[in-house]
């Protein structure tokens, strides 16, 4: 595959993917000889990466510790209704006297769960299909490519809408699985394109000559050469899954028991928090999502600079 064509194949990754990813790929496979120490050296000195990581880690701590600070569940009616933030209720209370802080911290847990599970599953499927299609080529590639294109065009949210509507009991885990099952195509396409360009390299031929099987070549020769790209795709998938789950929850198809950040916003809008000026109800959940996903994107730009020597600022 020639230069410009490869570029467009890879640029496909940009949309779902607020970029950063595309430029890293453009630099081509990372030389394997480079030591781990060098990556760490640049990673620690990259302010974008460190700052993004710090924000995400901060929210992770809040999600882990926060629920332990309150002795009641997120949906318990524990306080006076519609109270602004106070010493007793740090984030105020809802119209029904639920503790917004408890809801927020429990919601953060669902957010991370959906991101890891949904994004992880999507990454696995995307890699499986992308590697297989790119390495095998021929009819297998044609079929898998067709499948990828079909899933790519179908609006994900619309499918999730009807699936979720027919589920009587909805939980965070099934939601994450459905998100994972539908949001893999752009990864598959990008991985396929890269595998295409890597499989004709000499070192792959050499591995084949030495009798290595297809799976071993993919795992040991091809995947390591795009590990930085895979890592960054994983981060973008995480962010995408979080946003998709929030959208679904906001429409009212979120978990039927329990809480999530999207569900908090749904409740706030449903019970006129906007008209009543109860900003403490709808600002934290959206802010949490924006901060986490935004930090992930900025982390990705940082990672890009770490992995791609051309972008490094010395």
């Amino acid at each position: 595959m020639s230069g410009p064509e490869l570029k467009e194949e890879l640029a496909v990754a940009t949309p779902a993917a607020p970029p950063g990813a595309a430029t890293a790929v453009a630099a081509g496979p990372v030389p394997r000889a480079r030591g781990r120490g060098e990556v760490l050296y640049f990673a620690r000195r990259n302010r974008k990466l460190v700052a993004g990581l710090a924000v995400v880690a901060g929210f992770l701590v809040v999600a882990a510790v926060g629920p332990l600070l309150t002795d009641h569940g997120p949906n318990d009616y524990v306080g006076p209704p519609s109270q602004p933030p106070s010493a007793d209720f740090w984030f105020g209370t809802t119209t029904f006297g639920q503790d917004v802080f408890a809801q927020f911290t429990h919601g953060l847990r669902s957010t991370f769960l959906v991101g890891v599970l949904g994004g992880g599953l999507a990454g696995l499927i995307g890699m499986l299909i992308g590697f297989t299609a790119g390495y095998r080529g021929g009819v297998v590639d044609e079929v898998l490519n067709m499948l990828t294109n079909v899933v790519l065009v179908i609006p994900t949210l619309a499918v999730l809408l009807i699936v979720a509507a027919y589920l009587r009991v909805r939980g965070v885990v099934p939601e994450a699985i459905f998100i994972g099952l539908t949001s893999w195509p752009w990864v598959a396409r990008a991985v396929r394109a890269q595998t295409f360009s890597l499989r004709t390299r000499d070192f792959v031929d050499l591995a084949r000559l030495s009798g290595a099987g297809g799976r071993a070549i993919i795992v040991r020769e091809i995947a390591p050469n795009m590990s930085s790209y895979l890592l960054m795709s994983g981060i973008l998938l995480f962010g995408g899954a979080v946003l998709l789950a929030a959208t679904l929850d906001f429409i009212g198809l979120g978990p039927t028991s329990g809480i999530s950040l999207g569900l908090m916003m749904n409740n706030a809008v449903l019970w006129s928090a906007l008209q009543l000026g109860m900003w403490w109800w709808f600002v934290p959940p959206g802010l949490g999502i924006t901060a986490i996903v935004g930090s992930l994107y900025i982390m990705n730009v940082g990672l890009d600079e770490v992995f791609n020597p051309k972008l490094r600022k010395l």
Binding site: V12, P18, L157, L161, R168, L244, T247, I251, V301, K310
Partner: protein, 330 residues
């Protein structure tokens, strides 16, 4: 070029087929009995419940063999029959949706096109310009990470509730009846502005970042260096870079359509804007499965049609597709 279109159309037809099949399969193969679920959860008047039961049984035709049900489903679909709405019983779903579609399109089309255009311009400007890069880039990342509904909520709260500059809900003032008058048009615009702005802003961030990165990548390309070494003015080089960077951005537009539609749906919900998003909310709250499935099909058809339009534009701006080369495999 013919091959290009044949390939594209093939994928769209297949996609439509898959989507309709999903639409047909989900009520039948999900755990539980959908007819009973619908009836038990929809709070209907007794006579309505009775006729709904009879209607649902005949529509689902659950006693018939599966292949027969499937063919009947397609038959109804091709006749434009998507069932009867539970929420607005006994109006047909198709009519309910057709009344909502113009509102959604009025939000979605301008927001999409303008954000794409403005994002591209801004992103290209920001690339390799230090101070712009340092302001536009962080802002772009924050905007593109913002959930659509949250920005809509914030705008509605700040400009609708706190300051009272814009109306908080509806497609037009409740005191007006739809008419071809200046007053009504003004009211429409007034109610349209905030949802539009919210959609526009979130989408804008993504396009600006994408364009900025693509232009930087193009400026690194051999042709750009070659032009520079020939002494071509900087503006000319940047113009070439911009035009080349537009192609992946256009592919990106096609791929983002689903996300944009989802964004429009939740934005409409925040503003109670009478488009498809509002229907989805009502359908979910009223267990109106026919309406929900109808909206699903409309969204799929809309996204496929928009994809095809983008393919045509692609042929116009990318000469490689015209000469039979495959410029893009999407």
């Amino acid at each position: 070029m013919r091959q290009y279109f044949q390939r594209k159309l093939g994928i769209y037809v297949l996609t439509f087929f898959v989507a309709v099949t999903i639409d047909w399969m989900i009520p039948r193969f999900m755990p539980g009995d959908p007819v009973q679920t619908m009836l038990s959860r929809a709070s209907l008047r007794p006579e309505a419940a009775q006729s709904m039961q009879a209607y649902l049984n005949s529509v689902f035709g659950l006693d018939m063999p599966l292949w027969r049900q499937y063919l009947n489903f397609w038959g109804g679909l091709l006749r434009g029959d998507l069932g009867i709405s539970v929420w607005l019983f006994p109006q047909p779903v198709t009519g309910v949706i057709l009344r909502a579609v113009p509102y959604t399109l009025a939000l979605l089309v301008p927001a999409t096109l303008l954000s794409w255009w403005a994002g591209n311009k801004f992103g290209a400007l920001a690339a390799r310009r230090k101070w712009l890069d340092n302001t536009v880039l962080p802002l772009g990342y924050v905007l593109t990470a913002t959930p659509y509904m949250w920005l809509a909520i914030l705008l509605a709260w700040l400009f609708g509730s706190v300051t009272g500059w814009f109306p908080l809900s509806g497609g037009y003032s409740f005191s007006l009846a739809p008419a071809w008058s200046l007053e009504f048009a003004g009211s429409l615009f007034w109610h349209w502005f905030l949802p539009f702005l919210s959609l526009f802003l979130v989408a804008f961030g993504g396009w600006a970042i994408g364009m900025r990165n693509m232009v930087i990548y193009e400026l690194e390309a051999d042709y750009a260096h070659y032009l520079e070494s020939l002494g071509a003015p900087r503006r000319l080089v940047r113009r070439y870079a911009f035009r080349n960077a537009l192609l992946p951005q256009l592919t990106g537009l096609a791929l983002q359509l689903g996300v944009l539609v989802a964004g429009a749906l939740v934005t409409e919900i925040v503003f109670s804007y009478p488009g498809l998003g509002y229907l989805v909310l009502q359908a979910v709250n009223n267990q109106d499965f026919f309406l929900l499935q109808g909206v699903f099909l409309f969204i799929v058809i809309g996204v496929l049609a928009a994809n095809f339009l983008i393919d045509i534009v692609y042929v116009v701006i990318d000469p490689r597709t015209r000469t039979g080369m495959r410029g893009d495999t999407a």
